[in-house]
Symmetry: C2
Subunit: 750 residues, 2 copies
C-alpha cells in the first residue's frame, strides 16, 4: 500500500466519523429517540423532556463531548459502577502509554526506519508504507540500538503505569466492598451438589448440615427451584395465546368459546386470570406451581454475618469435594437462574466441552478471514474473478478495495462472534450474569487476537498457516518478517474497525432502526425504558484490548500506526463515557473482576512485542540489541508474577479483615435485623415462573444481555404491552416473526 492509499482510507474514515458523530448530535436531540440514546436516564427516571420545537434540535453540536469530558470519576462510579470505571481506565491507560510510545517511536524509531537504505524512496505521496517500517533498516545497522532503547522505554513505562492502575483498581475494589450498602450477596452462600438422601428432602438436608456444622453463623436457607419442562411449555403456550388473541383483536371477549389451537384449553382461562386481581391470581397459580416445581440440589444459605458466609464459602466442607460445594452467591440481579439447577457433577465436563467447541469455532472462522485476506492481494482477486479485471484497473476503486473492503467484511463477520461466545459461556454453567460475561469476554478476546492478528500475519492459504505450528524456534523471526508486510492491513483495520466502530457504537444503529420501526410502522408511542441494555463488556473490552495489542506489537516495527491508534483511543474515551452516562444501565456488576484479564493481556502484549523484537534483532544480525532484550523479557515476566502475588487474591476472594469490620459497623448501628428481613426475600425467582406479567419484566432483564451485541440487539421489537395493542394485517406477521425470533433468542441464551 502506498501512502496515498492510506490517506484515502483515513480520509474516508474521518469523513464517515464526522458525519456520523454530527448526525448523532442531531438525532439525540429528537424526542422520539429518547429511548435509544437515553435509556439509562429513562430507566432511572431522570430524563427531563425538553422543548420539542426549537432550531437547536437540528444543528449539530459537541455538547455531548463536553458533558463526557466534565463528568468526574466519582460520578461515573455511582452511575456505571466499578466495572465501567475499570473499563474507562483501560482507555486512559492506553492513551497514556501510546502517547509515550508515539513520541518515542516517531522521534527515535521512525527517522531511523525512514533513512535506512533498503528501499528506494519515491516521491512522498507515492511512497510505499514499507519505507516507514523496520523492513527499511539494513542488516547489521548500528542504529538498531534506537529500537532497543525504545523497547526499554515503552516496557518500563507500561509496567509502571500497569502497576499504578492495578493498585488503584484494587484499592477501588476494596473501597467499593467496604463502602457498599449491606448487600444480600455478602451474607449468602450458594451451596450446590447437596447429596441426595432418600429419607429427607434437600431442604431438610441443608438445614441439618448447616445447623450441625455452622450453627453459630447459619440463619436460614432457600432452595433453588426449577421449573419443569412441562411448565415451561405451558407458560410459553400461554404467552403465545395471549399475543395471538391480542393480534386477532379479541381484546375483551370474555365469554368467547374459540379454542386456542396451541394449548388446547378454552381461551377464557387466560382471560379470567388476567382480568382478576394479582393477589388472587398469584395464589391460584401458586398452588399449581408447588406441584409443578422441582427442588434442585442447590440452595442459597443465609448467614448472620458476612464473615460467617465468607468462611463457609472458602473452606472445604465435606470429605467428598464433589458434594456440598459452596461459593459466594452473586447479587440477586446478577444470578443466572437457569444455570443454578445444573448438577454440579456436570460442570467440569461442560467446561471442557465448551472449551473444545470454542476452539473448533475459532478454527472454522479461518475461512471468512482467508477470503478477506485474499482481497488485499489484488492480483489474486483478479485471477479468481477475471470479470472484475476491468473494474479493478480503475485506480480509485482498487484503492478502495485494498484499503477498506477487507476490514469491512471482517467486521461484519465478527458480529457473529460475541453472541456465539455468550452461548458457550452460558452452556458452561456460570452461576452469575457477570461471570458469564467475563467468561465470554475472555473467549472473544482470545478469538479476536487469534483471528485478527495471528491468522492475518501468517497470510496465505490455510495449509500454510498450519505448517507454521511445526516450527517453534523460527516463530519470532517469522513474525518479525510478517508483521511489517501486513502494515497496510493493520493500518486500515485501525481506521475502519476502530474509528467506524466507535461511530456505530455511539449511533446505536440497530436500536435506532428498531425504534424507527416501532414508532413509524407499529406506531407505538410508549417511551418506557424496557429495552435498556447493560454495557456489552464482552464485545467492547476485547476490541479495545486488541487495539492495545496491535499498538504494542507494531510500535517498533510500524511506528506510523501509533498516531492513528491514539486518535482511536481519544475518541473511544469520549464515546464510551457518553454511552455509560446515557445509554447503558448497570444492572449487575462484577466489582472490577475484569481487570486481571486486562492486566494479563497487556503483559502478554509486552512479552510478545519483546519476542518480535528478538526476532527483528536476530534477522538484522544485532547480537548486542538481542542481548539487551533478554533481561527486559525476564524482568517483564517477574513483574507479572509479582503483580499476580500482590493483587490477584483481592479479585478472587473477600478479605476477612474488611468483612469483619463491616459486620461490626452494622451490628453497632443495629441494622442487622433489617438486613435479615431483606435477606429472606432477596433471592426470589418468581418472575420467570409465577405470572406472565412478571415474566415479561424478567424477559427484558434477560434480553439486555442474552442478545448482547449492541449492533445486534433487537430491543423493543416485541413490546411488553403488545398484547393490549390492537394490531392487524401486516403487523400481525411482524409481531409473529418477532415473537418467534425472541423465543429463539431466549432459548439460545439459556
Amino acid at each position: 500500500m502506498e501512502l496515498s492509499a492510506l490517506l484515502t482510507s483515513a480520509g474516508i474514515n474521518t469523513a464517515i466519523c464526522t458525519i456520523l458523530l454530527s448526525l448523532y448530535s442531531i438525532l439525540r436531540k429528537q424526542p422520539s429517540n429518547v429511548s435509544v440514546y437515553f435509556g439509562r436516564r429513562l430507566a432511572s427516571g431522570r430524563y427531563r423532556q425538553k422543548d420539542p420545537f426549537s432550531l437547536e434540535r437540528f444543528v449539530p453540536s459537541p455538547s455531548w463531548i463536553l458533558k463526557a469530558w466534565e463528568t468526574t470519576e466519582e460520578e461515573l462510579l455511582t452511575i456505571g459502577g466499578l466495572d465501567a470505571v475499570a473499563f474507562l481506565r483501560i482507555i486512559v491507560f492506553s492513551i497514556r502509554i501510546f502517547s509515550i510510545s508515539a513520541v518515542v517511536c516517531c522521534f527515535i524509531v521512525l527517522p531511523v526506519n525512514y533513512y535506512g537504505k533498503m528501499i528506494h524512496h519515491q516521491h512522498i505521496p507515492r511512497e510505499s508504507l514499507e519505507a516507514f517500517t523496520i523492513l527499511n533498516v539494513p542488516e547489521g545497522s548500528k542504529w538498531l540500538w534506537c529500537h532497543c532503547l525504545a523497547l526499554y522505554i515503552i516496557t518500563c513505562a507500561a509496567c509502571i503505569l500497569l502497576y499504578l492502575e492495578y493498585k488503584s483498581i484494587a484499592k477501588m475494589r476494596l473501597d467499593h466492598i467496604d463502602g457498599s450498602p449491606p448487600k444480600p450477596s455478602h451474607f449468602t452462600v450458594l451451596v450446590r451438589a447437596i447429596p441426595w438422601n432418600p429419607d429427607e428432602s434437600y431442604s431438610d438436608s441443608v438445614e441439618k448440615f448447616f445447623t450441625d456444622y455452622h450453627a453459630s453463623g447459619y440463619l436460614s436457607h432457600q432452595m433453588v427451584q426449577r421449573s419443569g419442562t412441562v411448565q415451561k411449555l405451558m407458560s410459553d403456550a400461554e404467552k403465545m395465546c395471549r399475543i395471538f388473541k391480542a393480534a386477532t383483536g379479541e381484546h375483551s371477549c370474555r365469554q368467547g368459546l374459540m379454542r386456542c389451537g396451541f394449548c388446547g384449553g378454552p381461551p377464557n382461562s387466560f382471560k379470567i386470570l388476567s382480568s382478576e386481581p394479582d393477589s388472587v391470581r398469584g395464589k391460584s397459580l401458586g398452588d399449581l406451581d408447588l406441584a409443578r416445581r422441582k427442588e434442585c440440589a442447590a440452595a442459597f444459605v443465609f448467614f448472620k454475618t458476612r464473615y460467617a458466609a465468607v468462611v463457609a464459602s472458602q473452606v472445604l466442607q465435606s470429605s467428598n469435594p464433589m458434594s456440598w460445594v459452596t461459593d459466594m452467591a452473586p447479587d440477586p440481579h446478577d444470578v443466572y437462574w437457569s444455570n443454578l439447577w445444573i448438577p454440579y457433577g456436570q460442570l467440569w465436563i461442560r467446561k471442557i466441552a465448551t472449551l473444545m467447541a470454542a476452539i473448533a469455532f475459532m478454527l472454522v472462522f479461518l475461512i471468512p478471514v482467508t477470503v478477506v485476506q485474499g482481497l488485499t492481494q489484488l492480483e489474486q482477486l483478479q485471477q479468481t474473478f477475471p470479470f472484475l479485471r476491468g473494474i479493478l484497473k480503475k485506480k480509485y476503486f482498487s484503492q478502495l478495495v485494498t484499503g477498506y473492503l477487507p476490514s469491512v467484511i471482517l467486521i461484519l463477520a465478527f458480529y457473529a462472534v460475541p453472541p456465539t461466545m455468550m452461548l458457550f459461556s452460558a452452556a458452561e454453567g456460570c452461576i452469575s450474569r457477570s461471570g458469564r460475561k467475563k467468561s465470554a469476554c475472555c473467549k472473544v478476546l482470545y478469538f479476536t487476537i487469534w483471528n485478527v492478528f495471528f491468522v492475518n500475519v501468517f497470510t496465505g492459504s490455510v495449509i500454510r498457516q498450519l505448517r507454521v505450528f511445526s516450527s517453534v524456534k523460527d516463530i519470532p523471526a517469522q513474525l518479525a518478517n510478517a508483521i511489517p508486510l501486513q502494515t497496510s492491513f493493520f493500518m486500515t483495520y485501525v481506521l475502519s474497525s476502530g474509528w467506524a466502530s466507535l461511530s456505530c457504537e455511539v449511533m446505536q444503529l440497530f436500536p435506532l432502526l428498531c425504534n424507527v420501526i416501532k414508532k413509524w410502522i407499529l406506531r407505538i408511542k410508549d417511551d418506557s425504558p424496557e429495552g435498556t441494555m447493560s454495557f456489552p463488556y464482552h464485545t467492547e473490552m476485547p476490541r479495545v484490548l486488541l487495539f492495545g495489542f496491535l499498538g504494542f506489537t507494531c510500535s517498533i516495527l510500524v511506528p506510523l500506526m501509533l498516531p492513528f491508534l491514539l486518535v482511536y483511543f481519544v475518541l473511544a474515551y469520549f464515546v464510551y463515557r457518553n454511552q455509560i452516562l446515557n445509554v447503558y444501565v448497570s444492572k449487575y456488576e462484577s466489582g472490577g473482576q475484569f481487570w486481571p484479564i486486562v492486566h494479563n493481556t497487556t503483559i502478554f502484549s509486552l512479552v510478545f512485542m519483546q519476542v518480535i523484537a528478538l526476532g527483528v534483532f536476530g534477522l538484522r544480525k544485532s547480537p548486542v540489541a538481542s542481548g539487551f532484550t533478554i533481561p527486559l523479557f525476564i524482568g517483564t515476566l517477574l513483574f507479572y508474577e509479582y503483580c499476580r502475588q500482590r493483587f490477584l487474591p483481592i479479585f478472587r476472594n473477600h478479605a476477612a479483615e474488611i468483612l469483619i469490620k463491616m459486620d461490626r459497623r452494622d451490628e453497632q448501628s443495629g441494622k442487622m435485623e433489617e438486613i435479615y428481613q431483606q435477606l429472606r426475600s432477596a433471592y426470589t425467582h418468581t418472575e420467570t415462573c409465577n405470572d406472565s406479567r412478571r415474566s415479561e419484566i424478567s424477559n427484558h432483564h434477560e434480553k439486555a444481555d442474552s442478545i448482547p451485541d449492541p449492533e445486534h440487539v433487537k430491543p423493543g421489537l416485541i413490546h411488553p404491552t403488545l398484547g393490549r395493542v390492537p394490531v392487524s394485517g401486516i403487523r400481525d406477521v411482524i409481531a409473529w416473526l418477532s415473537l418467534l425470533f425472541t423465543f429463539q433468542g431466549k432459548n439460545l441464551a439459556k
Copy 2:
C-alpha cells in the same frame, strides 16, 4: 543388541542380585551391623540382641523375604505411616498393571511383532532384539488392530486400577486424619509476613490482630525466632573446641590454662558449662540468647479448635494479600526451621530462581548422558579412542560394554541429582521437611524422565536434540521410530539400574562402609540409633515411577521388556517392605500427599503411550487404528480431569466436616485442656540454639534428610559422643576431616 547380549546382561545382573541378597541375609544377622540394618528397630527400642555365636549367622536365608511378605498393611501403617503405605501402593499398582500388560502383550502383541516380515530372522540366540519390536511389523499390516486392542486393554485396566487406588488412598488419608491422636499441627496456623509496625513488636501485632479478628478461636501464639549469624558462628566454634579438646585427650583437665585458638576464650569456660548441671547452664545461656536472638515476621498461632485453625488458614486475612499470610502449620517434627525466617516477599522470587536453576542443571546434565549414549554405539567409540580397538574386538568384552557399562555410568552420575534437588527445594523456602521432600521428588522425577528417557531416545549430538524441539507435529512419529531403536538401552537400564539398585538399597552399602570404619578403625562400639534415616521418597519414588513410565511407553513397542520389569517390581515389593520395617524411621510424614504426583505421572505415561501409538499407526499407515486411538486419548484426559475434581482437594485442604467432628469428640471427652497444655510447648526450636547437647540431637534429625540419598549418606562418621572419646594420631585427622565434611553438608542442606 542381540538376544545373547541381553541374556548376558540378565545373567550378570541375576548373579549380582543373588550374591548381594544372600550377602545381605548374612550381614543382617551380624550383631555389629545392627545399626545399619535395624535402625528403625533400634530407634524404637524394640531390637532384641540375639545369641551372638551360632552357625545360622553365616548361612544365607530368605527369612527377611518371608517377614516382608507376612506383614499386613495395618502394621505398615503404624510403623511407616501413610506415606510408606502409599509408596508401597505404587509398587502394588505397578505389579498389577504390568502383569495384565505382560499377559496381553506377550500373547497378542509379541507374536504379531515376531512374525512380521520386515527383518530377516536369525538363529534364535543371535536373533536381533529388533525382531521382537514393532519395527518388524510391515506398513499397512492388517494385524495392527492387535496393538490397538492391547492399548485399549492396558489403558482401561490402568484407569480402573488408578481410580480404585486414588479412592482408597483418599479414604486412608481421611481416616488417618480422623483417627489420629490430637496433633498440635491441627490446632496451629503458621502466620508469615506480619507487617512491621514501629510502635509495637511483632508479637504484640500478632496478638492484637488475632484477638481482634479471631477472638472466638484464638488461644495463644509463639513467635519464630532466628538465631543471628554471630550466634551461629559462636556455637560452631564452641562445638569445634569441644571436639578439639576431646581429640587432644585433655578430657578432665579442669584447671588447664591452654587457650583455644579458635574461639579465643579460655577453654575452661566450656568445661565449666559442660560440667555444671543442665538447669543452671540453660539459664545462663538463656540470658545471652535473649540478646542474641531476633524476632522474625512469622509466628505460630494456636487456636482453640481445629476448625478455627483451618478457617484461619484458608480464608484470605488481609486486604493486602502479601501480609498476614496464613498456612496450616506442619507437625513439630516436620517444621523446617531454617526456612521460617525467610521474608514472605522473597518466596515467589526464590521459587522462580530455583526453577530456573533446576532447568539449567537439567540441561547441563546432558553432557554425561551424551557420553554414555556414545558407548552403546561401539563403532563410534572405536573411532574416538583408536587404542581401544583391540580390546573391543573381543566378543565378550564388547557385549559387556554395550550391555552394561552405559547404565552403570548413568547410575553413578545420577547419584549427584537428589542431593542437588534437595538443595534447590530447601532454597525454595518450603516450611516443612515433607514439603521439601515432595518438591524435591517432583524435581527429581522430571529430571529423571527427561534425562533417562527423552534424551536417550533422541540420541546423537546435543545439536540434534535441540533441533527436535523445532518440529512439534512430527514428534509422535519420531518417538515411534526412536524408541524401538533404543530397546537395548532400556532393557539394560531396567536390568542394571533397576535390579542392581534394589540390591544396593537393601545392602545399604554406604552406611555399611561407614559402620565398618566406625567399628573397626575408630573402634566405637556404641550402637545408639543416632544415624537412622527417614525414607528417601525423593530418590526412590522417581525411580519406581520412571520404570512405570518405561513400562507403559514400551509395552506395545517392545513387549519383551515387560517380564524383566515385572521381576523388578516384585523384587522392589519385598525390598522396600523390608526397608520400611527395619531400616527407615518415619519422623515426619505428609499424609499421603505424594499420591497426586504418582497419579499425574501415571496418567502422563498413559497419554504418552497413546501419542506414541498414534505415531506408530501413522507410520505403519493404519488409519483405522489411529482413529480408534483418539477416543481413548480423549477418554484418558477426561478421566484425569474427573479425578482431579473428585480427589485432589482432599490432599490440598482439610475438610471442615471431619475437623468439627474431631473437635466435638475431644470436647466431650474433656481432652481439650490437656491439648492446650501440650500446644504451648509443642513448637520449640531450642535444640539448635540453646545448648550444644540438644543441638546434637537436632543435628541427627537434620542429617537424616539433609544428606538424603541412602547410598550417599554419611551417618555415624561423626559420632555425637566423639568429643568424650579419647582419640589420637591418625584418628584425629579422620575426626577433623569428618567434622569439616559434616559442617559443609549441614550448610549446604540449610
